[in-house]
Symmetry: C2
Subunit: 523 residues, 2 copies
């Protein structure tokens, strides 16, 4: 256990210094009046970088992206219950991603709360569903222990977003130096007996799938999984919505768990499935006629749960298995789409172009099925990069996650592969990209419809052409002009309709000093 | 008690028909996969109008505006916990406005919930803080009673937003015809003994203030209050943030309760204060050195609380008082700001121009202090109109509230007086305005800063020029181009910098067939 001590000051300064001592380096802020003492304190603690956003969902999504890429614990600063409300969707995703975040909410002075002023609300009730810990500060002398509680819960195993409610009267008082007992979290080790059991399970399998998720999806985990299937046969899959996964370059091939239950059932076949950091395969939604759990328990073995050390478990299992290591599994050959420069643009063409052009060590923020599925089927052929996906299904994640990724990895190019419908929810992200001059290339898949809703309605044979159904699933009246939206927020933009235009725009975006948005018109 | 009966169909159709039978006529929707059976059902129940928005906060804010203007109960259709989360800020305001709303949330099939699929969340915990009732449907045969519960709670006295959680397995089953016991809510009548007590309180006052809020702020309530002060002397005030208040034309003068505690204390002086539909005057935030409650109980009398019939109470009190009715209080003379057409634009010039040009029966959606305070000090000089204010302090209300108002009052011109900082939170409202061709004139007070935060920081003498504080309160790097944002969402727009340009743009906007946005540059 380390100990860090802060100097004296008011409660707000002491709080920020304690968070800094515990590892916080950045604060995504959209403050209001009850946070102004903290705003003032941020001026006294410049070692925590302040980044302003025009909407709270940008703050929480950016914190999520920052946490995924850096492995550190960023802060957000939000205004009371309603401001927090706007951050809930992306904190829902962050909780599924197990991203370490501390959200600070300034609350009314404790003596003012009983009067039920207009902005008073039940913050605990709002915060609990998306927080692994909610702490209300009550004693200025307890700042160190309160900070330690949220930091340990956030960065714990498995960890996740936490909420720290700070009444203004705690921030205003002078406090003594604060000691922060920082206890670095540790994942539980999987025991040798369980590795033996897993070895028996995999060697007895006719068909084997290693399903990786969480920490097991790192490069080291993927290579250990490849070693295992090289010894005993089988396939390596990733969970359907990873928080962050390295792909491409010389990494071994990895397949993604499918979306619809019938596809998962077909994909899994009769294989035995080993879970390393991944959850049991379940259906994304409950569909009449399909089970919720898509592989029965008797064909499942959990090698490591999300709170356990998955990489070490995979390596121990690989070492435990007999047999010479065979040649690593080969990637399927790449078949680029046939195209002419003036061919109307398609999702596959976008993916082909990006496979060619993506620079080393790029980070892709992926939201929406139009480009998401095609990219994850082809990412193995690109240069080495990392992909963040929408872990919790709350839309409006892609653009802010790209903001956070760019701030966490200043040397990397960030590409936002973004469906247009979901892009609108946090469109204000563009302003923070322009303000911070972030090297983000935003590709808007502009098909002007809620494609996933049409896909799901087709499944149940609903009449897509019915005027009411069409009005609730099509976004073509009017069509949003993303180049104008980008200009409104200070981001350069270009609209493309052909393969050739897209190739050129992407080349320009990937070398652009700052954000550039490409509105890619799709059918 | 009325009864309405629906025809048979699946649960979703039965639910919508029951809501229609109970008075619902419009649904502001941003649906996802768990709402698709309801989307399909909306096609079968076209008597409920479906209006799509690109963001949930637009749906809830529009429902709030619709409820305030129409007095009816609109629906919103939102997607699970995260989609609901994006609607919380404006439901917070709607709860303070006591607006009757039923929010429908499709949830996973009840048998799928235990598997904790990605979008699963604790909807009840999220909904409770902003709902006067939360009902989870569990039995398709109970649709009628569940609908009656939310409709009665929503339109009750005082009423407010309600949440109806509908699992997909309730929507999919065939159900028998549904009977909806619709019990129109009634406000409690204030008894004669209490009127006597109030008469004694007001006649014994050296100085008297009638503080009106809620239902007492109708024309009838304002005229009854004017009768009272004409008999016994005193002033009529309105609560600081009315849900909706008629002003201008031949209505008697009415002053607004101030914002800062020192101003309220000065405004109230030593007066006895009678509350009709208004809450006790309290400080908006807790400030060290000021009490939370700004008028002591011994100088307060509550004539009617928000659940009581305030207008009838005021009329009874007026009738109970002796003395001939004096001449009604005269409005203060109007002093327009001196101006030349090429003078740089100011907030006062905008207000002057609007006082001159506002047409009869317009509705103003007011958000932000830049234009809000000046308008409410001058509204009495304009033609007869109604003003909606931000009741709960959750920002991002103004634009969506204007959407709802325009749909509720098709013959009226709607003017959105909107600060730029708060406008960004629900900027997607512009798309729905364009789509529905709503006659909304949007005036963006573009000072490119969070003015209220700077005002509050000035109070505590914080250094506004400090780089960190400046970066968290100024929006000038980059400056948003609202004409481009409007174009992006299909709305015509113009940027003005002088009084003359503003006058011309306003004239154009007020006669424009559809929405027009004026970016009014202010210092």
């Amino acid at each position: 256990m380390e100990h860090a001590e802060t100097k004296s000051g008011n409660g707000a300064v002491a709080l920020l210094k304690a968070l800094h001592a515990g590892g916080a380096r950045i604060c995504f802020a959209n403050p209001g009046t009850t946070e102004l003492t903290l705003v003032d304190a941020l001026a006294d603690v410049p070692e925590i970088r302040s980044v302003l956003a025009l909407f709270e969902g940008v703050c929480t999504g950016a914190a999520d992206g920052y946490a995924r890429v850096s492995g550190q614990t960023p802060l957000t600063l939000l205004h009371l219950g309603p401001g927090f409300g706007n951050g809930i969707a992306n904190l829902h995703n962050a909780r599924r991603a197990r991203s370490a975040i501390v959200t600070i909410i300034g609350d009314h002075a404790s003596w003012h709360l009983p009067y039920d002023a207009p902005l008073t609300s039940d913050i605990e009730s709002l915060a609990s569903p998306v927080s692994v810990a909610v702490v209300r500060m009550r004693d200025p002398q307890a700042i160190g222990t309160d900070v330690a509680r949220v930091l340990e819960a956030a960065a714990g195993a498995p960890g996740g977003p936490t909420t720290l409610i700070v009444p203004t009267d705690i921030m205003d008082v002078q406090v003594d130096p604060v000691t922060v007992p920082v206890a670095p979290p540790a994942r539980r080790t999987v025991g040798a007996a369980h590795i033996d059991k897993a070895a028996e399970f995999v060697t007895g399998a006719q068909d084997l799938i290693l399903l990786l998720g969480g920490d097991a999806l790192t490069e080291q985990g993927q290579r250990a999984a490849a070693d295992i299937v090289a010894k005993v046969g089988g396939r390596v899959l990733m969970e359907p919505y990873p928080a962050i996964v390295p792909l491409g370059g010389d990494l071994p091939p990895i397949e993604r768990q499918a979306y619809f239950p019938e596809d998962v059932i077909r994909q899994m076949g009769e294989a035995r499935v080993v879970l390393a950091g991944a959850l049991k395969p379940i259906s994304y939604f409950g569909y009449e006629g399909f089970p919720s759990q898509l592989v029965p328990d008797e064909r499942l073995l959990c090698l490591s749960d999300p709170a356990e050390a998955g990489v070490a478990a995979l390596e121990a299992l690989a070492a435990r298995l007999d047999g010479a290591v065979a040649a690593p599994a080969a990637k399927a050959p790449r078949r680029p789409t046939a195209r002419a420069p003036d061919a109307p643009l398609s999702a596959d063409m976008i993916v082909d172009s990006l496979v060619q052009q993506l620079p080393d060590d790029a980070i892709i923020s992926l939201e929406g099925s139009t480009l998401g599925g095609p990219w994850l089927r082809n990412a193995g052929h690109a240069r080495r990069h990392r992909v963040m996906t929408n872990t919790g299904g709350a839309i409006g994640q892609g653009l802010p996650c790209a903001v956070g990724a760019a701030l966490a990895a200043p040397g990397s190019r960030v590409v936002s592969l973004q469906s247009d419908g979901s892009g609108h929810y946090t469109v204000q992200s563009l302003w923070t990209m322009a303000r911070e001059k972030l090297p983000v290339t935003i590709i808007i898949a502009a098909n002007h419809r809620y494609g996933i809703l049409q896909t799901e309605l087709n499944r149940v044979e609903a009449p897509l052409e019915d005027p009411v159904i069409a009005s609730l699933t099509r976004l073509d009246n009017p069509r949003a002009d993303w180049t104008a939206l980008a200009a409104g927020y200070g981001v350069e933009a270009v609209r493309v309709t052909t393969a050739g235009e897209f190739d050129a725009a992407l080349a320009r975006g990937l070398s652009h000093d700052g954000p550039l948005l490409i509105q890619a018109e799709l059918p």
